[in-house]
Symmetry: C2
Subunit: 350 residues, 2 copies
DNA sequence: ACTTTTTGTGCAATCGTTTGCATAATATGT
DNA sequence: ACATATTATGCAAACGATTGCACAAAAAGT
């Protein structure tokens, strides 16, 4: 087996405690002679000592692991988040344990239980829905938790997300200003924070512009590509089809693209498109798609920050950080009339 | 704190050992009365007992965790693999610890060390390059290891991968049969198994077809999108540009698409394109891209199988499984002349 | 009725660390 | 020169589980 403290103790003649104290920087309360330190460190090096973190965790009741819960790791938006989280947390000496909840609340509960069984020191989660009772339980138990991207309305917890209402507003505003009057919205899973907020933004702008909201062109039921596909097919088949589509997420947009290709509709000549999320592939498409970009690196950085703050100071008032998304204008929107009534919105969202 | 065995022992009056034996199905060598079992199970339930897996791991020297190493989790090919691995391993009661090596050998070594520190029970890896000495070390130490996707030439270890040579061959064969004479190859990181094998296949078909290999149109230096972008720009600027591009991976292809869009080249009218890998977005593009698809689910299944077999039987002869990829023909290739010399290849790769 | 086997339970060691407390040796202050 | 402070080290008890061994009681075999 691998070397342990005992081996080093035996070889050097020092006690287990002394060896432990030398090799474990933490406990500086006690002093150790320079010579002893040297000898022990050298011996440890020679023997290729690596601490048994399992034993350490058992004793210290800390794992230095952060649990991460995402709805779908194969979605590039989340895999990018996971990648960034891992590298950010690594800087602070923390590892990550990632679970994919498959946009499924019961799998989410199950995964959460597993993470707790693993005794993670904290959690960063992008929740499936608005069902928060299992998470509230966690927080009550004093386990640091930060929500990322997906927020809870009725749960006061550290959170970071993009301002989804505002993001939807700038997208729809842009479409209207280019002269579109009939803009469809393909939403994600109703009940999820991201989807509902985006819908709010969509409605708000139509309202400001004085365009009546037509519920028949607010469609969609989840965040996957197939949803985008099926709803686009449906929208195109209407007697009075929309001239533009605003899509609630990157995957949905993929489905939209597939349907448009099948139906031989040319973007933007025959239909315009704006999407929420700016996955890496949007800029490679022809035409490139106009998109609402989320500052992922910044979100991740803030999430980690909030988490560590919480870990240091468990009693502190919780904070909710909303970041401003930006509209990246590419070539997927047709200007259908000369500018008439330019509408203007301000980001007055809390 | 959470309930532990001791609490249950105290509450029921039985000893720690008895409680442990009831709650831990494993040790069936000893029998326990049905009544006792009932009482203890009920009490455990009531108290919401959850075993401390850290303590358990310390004692049993098993973590029930499998370490996974991938070069880039934000690449959809690998994030799909990770997702599938996690769900497949979960079926067997194993968790996963995922590390992203960022296509970087020294980060790979570092990650490997971390995984060992975590005492994972086995490893499934997609290695960065052909540098295998750190992995050989692992195998010598008796830790079960399976390589996935990326194989080592000079390292006899359980491995599963697609037949990359064959995959490249069917792709290039198809291009030639559609009448292309000048086919460029944009490779990935030279020295990696995947890239080198695909290049072999490319060369082999040209050889069979009697077309001399032009080293100036074998380009590229890594698996990322920017590589595809820059090399496509370069290929298009040649005095004698290729009529078709065969791209070694999905991300490279994204870069190719970006460059083609910038240069206003229409696919397939002005340039044809076939890509290795069949990431989920290929079918959403217009035109849809012809691609060499890898049977990811099958690869994952086999990798997990090999791993468990190895864990059961450490001495067994190692196996290497090569799966057959398939060409998914879509609309990114132009037929440039009527069929003349149809070439035929057989999958005679070992 | 007396061995032998089976069944049910408990004792105590162990896994590899960390850390509060005790203590010996040395240094410092007066 | 003596009291006190500081420095350097070791002892032993945790952390929460698993498991070989011992042993009593009950069942089975003769």
């Amino acid at each position: 087996m691998s070397t342990k403290l005992k081996d080093i103790a035996q070889k050097t003649g020092f006690s287990l405690s002394t060896v432990s104290r030398v090799l474990h920087k933490g406990s500086q309360k006690v002093s150790i002679s320079a010579e002893t330190t040297r000898i022990i460190k050298k011996t440890a090096e020679d023997l290729g000592y690596r601490p048994n973190i399992i034993a350490r965790s058992l004793r210290t009741e800390q794992t230095h692991e952060i649990g991460i819960l995402v709805p779908d790791i194969s979605n590039p938006f989340f895999s990018t988040i996971v990648k960034n989280l891992a590298s950010e947390l690594r800087k602070f000496g923390y590892g990550t344990v990632v679970y994919d909840t498959d946009e499924n609340t019961s799998l989410e509960e199950e995964s959460l239980r597993q993470l707790l069984d693993k005794r993670v020191d904290g959690l960063i989660i992008a929740a499936v829905g608005q069902e928060a009772k299992h998470f509230k339980e966690i927080v009550k138990r004093g386990i640091p938790l930060v929500t990322l991207d997906r927020c809870f309305n009725d749960f006061d917890v550290d959170a970071v997300s993009v301002d989804n209402v505002y993001g939807a507003m700038i997208a729809v505003q842009y479409l209207l200003n280019e002269g579109h009057q009939r803009v469809a919205f393909i939403q994600g899973l109703p009940g999820t924070y991201a989807s509902d907020e985006r819908k709010k933004g969509y409605c708000k702008v139509l309202d400001i512009a004085g365009i009546p909201i037509d519920p028949t062109i607010i469609v969609g039921s989840d965040f996957r590509a197939f949803n985008g596909y099926i709803e686009t097919k449906h929208l195109l088949s209407m007697k009075n089809p929309p001239t533009a589509i605003f899509s609630a997420s990157d995957l949905i947009t993929l489905g939209v693209l597939e349907a448009l290709r099948e139906e031989k509709k040319i973007i933007p000549q025959e239909i315009s498109l704006v999407t929420f999320d700016d996955p890496y592939f949007t800029k490679y498409l022809s035409p490139a798609i106009t998109a609402v970009a989320q500052p992922i690196e910044r979100m991740v950085e803030i999430a980690v920050n909030l988490l560590f703050r919480r870990m240091k100071n468990p009693k502190e008032q919780s904070r909710r950080v909303l970041l401003e998304p930006s509209l990246i204008i590419r070539n997927s929107v047709l200007r259908v009339s000369k500018l008439s009534a330019i509408i203007n919105i301000n980001n007055t969202n809390s």
